[in-house]
């Protein structure tokens, strides 16, 4: 069924791919530093007494969401080809998840 060999000329293919992988890896490291950075900001925001709760909570949640998008798209390669089904189902899951959390935060109040 599926054919495993990608190109007629494996040698050229190899050097090209190596280079591409290395470049990818560079992005990954940048992503990682961003994630660490966001995490530190979130922790600082919470530790710092000057700002109110109304700001802190939405702020750290936004940071978390950004960080998770990094994880999904870079670490888990969701931006790559062949991830259509993956994305569809993951985001459907996120949709149900969001609805659940929203409901539990709004209509269970007592």
């Amino acid at each position: 069924m599926a054919n495993n060999h990608n190109s007629a000329n494996p040698k050229v293919d190899l050097t090209y791919r190596r280079k591409k992988n290395a470049e990818d890896m560079k992005h990954q490291i940048i992503t990682f530093s961003m994630m660490i950075f966001l995490t530190i900001i979130a922790f600082i925001a919470v530790g710092y007494d000057g700002i109110g709760e109304w700001f802190k909570i939405p702020f750290i949640i936004t940071l978390a969401v950004i960080q998770v998008i990094f994880q999904l798209y870079y670490f888990m390669h969701m931006s790559h080809r062949g991830h259509e089904a993956a994305a569809l189902f993951l985001f459907s899951g996120v949709g149900v998840a969001g609805l659940t959390v929203l409901a539990f935060m709004t209509i269970i109040w007592w």
Partner: protein, 621 residues
Amino acid sequence: MSTLTQKKGIGATIWDYLTTVDHKKIAILYLISGGFFFLVGGLEAMLIRIQLAVPDNDFVSAGLYNEILTMHGTTMIFLAAMPLLFALMNAVVPLQIGARDVAFPFLNSLGFWLFFFGGIFLNLSWFLDGAPDAGWTSYASLALHSPGHGVDFYLLGLQVSGIGTLIAGINFLVTIINMRAPGMTYMRMPLFTWTTFVASALILFAFPALTVGLALLMFDRLFDTAFFNPALGGNTVIWEHLFWIFGHPEVYILILPAFGIFSDILPVFARKRLFGYSSMVFATVLIGFLGFMVWAHHMFTTGLGPIANAIFAVATMAIAVPTGIKIFNWLFTIWGGSIRFTSPMIWSVAFIPTFVMGGVTGVMLAAAAADYQYHDTYFVVAHFHYVIVGGVVFSLFAGAIYWWPTMFGKMLNEKLNIVTFILFFIGFHLTFFIQHFLGLMGMPRRVFTFLPGQGLNVGNAISTVGAFLMAAATIILLYNIVLTAIKGKKVGMDPWGDGRTLEWAIPSPPPEYNFKQTPLVRGLDALWIEKMEGNKEMTPAEPLGDIHMPNGSILPFIMSFGLFVVSFGLMYREDYSWGLAAIFVGFIITLAAMFLRSIIDDHGYHIHKEDLMNEDKGGKA
């Protein structure tokens, strides 16, 4: 490798089924166990109806009634309706998309055995500590209050079988995403495949909520946590939400495949393609999508407040629109057709008005302010039996008869089928139509008896009579099955004559590899297209070659058995000294089987080209 034709000893056959990973055999396993549980659930329904035949009856005691009622609902939904649908899905979906098997044959078997052991575990409660008695919804306050181990059986049994269901759902999804034959685009898939796809997606997103709910309730009961204990800040409404976040999609998990079955049968016997194919697909997806936003319509009286109630009321009603689209598409499918009233077709057409009656009462229930009156009355009971029996059970009858040749290579007796239909259809309406009025007249559901002098006697008596007709119908069906097994004639390819989809393009029952050569699909109703062009069979998409087959394995059985043991251990942890040991032993059994599975390489085997050629006329190269 033509094992099918070989005669085998009974031991070998049993071993074969215990270890099989073949979707067609797993389908049969699902059919047998689902059918068995349907009889059990039906028997429980009969006990319910006998008890309620007359006021102040003491045929069963109050406590026992609650057990029967709970087990009836739970068994029917989780152990009968869903597995029976899985039976048809397993038997048909891989064939309909031109695949040799499902994506994960091993997991397919695991899913079945988990369901099976979960179901057995749940039903063993009858013989051990008494069955669960808090209703199939097992609302937390009552479930925590319920003495004995009944509710624990419910929690653990459903947990185990729920994992099996989740696995089955993922398996179908991947099968449909990755294993379609060349040319089988999404918009050429038969509707049964489509609805299986969407229902499986619903399983994927709904069952985790149930898993969590069951786990929390189990922790509360077995480990004294405080999720639902108001004294420690717990909140039972959380259970209601979790249950219904699962529970509402669940009813669409049941009805969507049923819709798919009818959508496949109607065109065949009307000899006309499905009207509005793309809007059918669209409606299916939309129903699935909306299905996640309406769960609180089961909680209108919980006190969520008017804003929540209004939102959920409107969202719920919206589902009538895509469902209506389907209804009218079906009507216009047979409009202008050439209808042959075979028994699958009779079930299918009878479904249309019946389901509409059930659906519209659903919309009435969705009217929040009016639901304050309907809720927890027999009006609701009537509603959901109209949609479940009139929709799902009708579809199971229709589908089972229709695909009986695919599964067993024989046709059920048509005359008897029709007798079954008549009895069941009359019995069904007799039983449940009157229940609308009982509900409106003030009869709450889940009551073990009612008092005379409240105007409820006649209705209940009629309802009971109807149930007996359904039982008679079921018994005739059983007789028919036995008769067919003994005397039925073998059939060949396309036994209904007007088959349109790929399962009819191969022999019935199909060989273990399904398609000797993967077919090339050129449009919707692939076989019909070929027929219309005068071709006898599908054009192959590949040359004849070796076919890769997965090996059978006993490990799924062992893994599931391990969890079965764990369940006993968890439950009896504090009652018996062996309880703790059972937890460990069970886990070790399961983990060891998982470990073996992951370290033993299983590359499967091949059926060689030469053997395929020898089998009969041989394929085209």
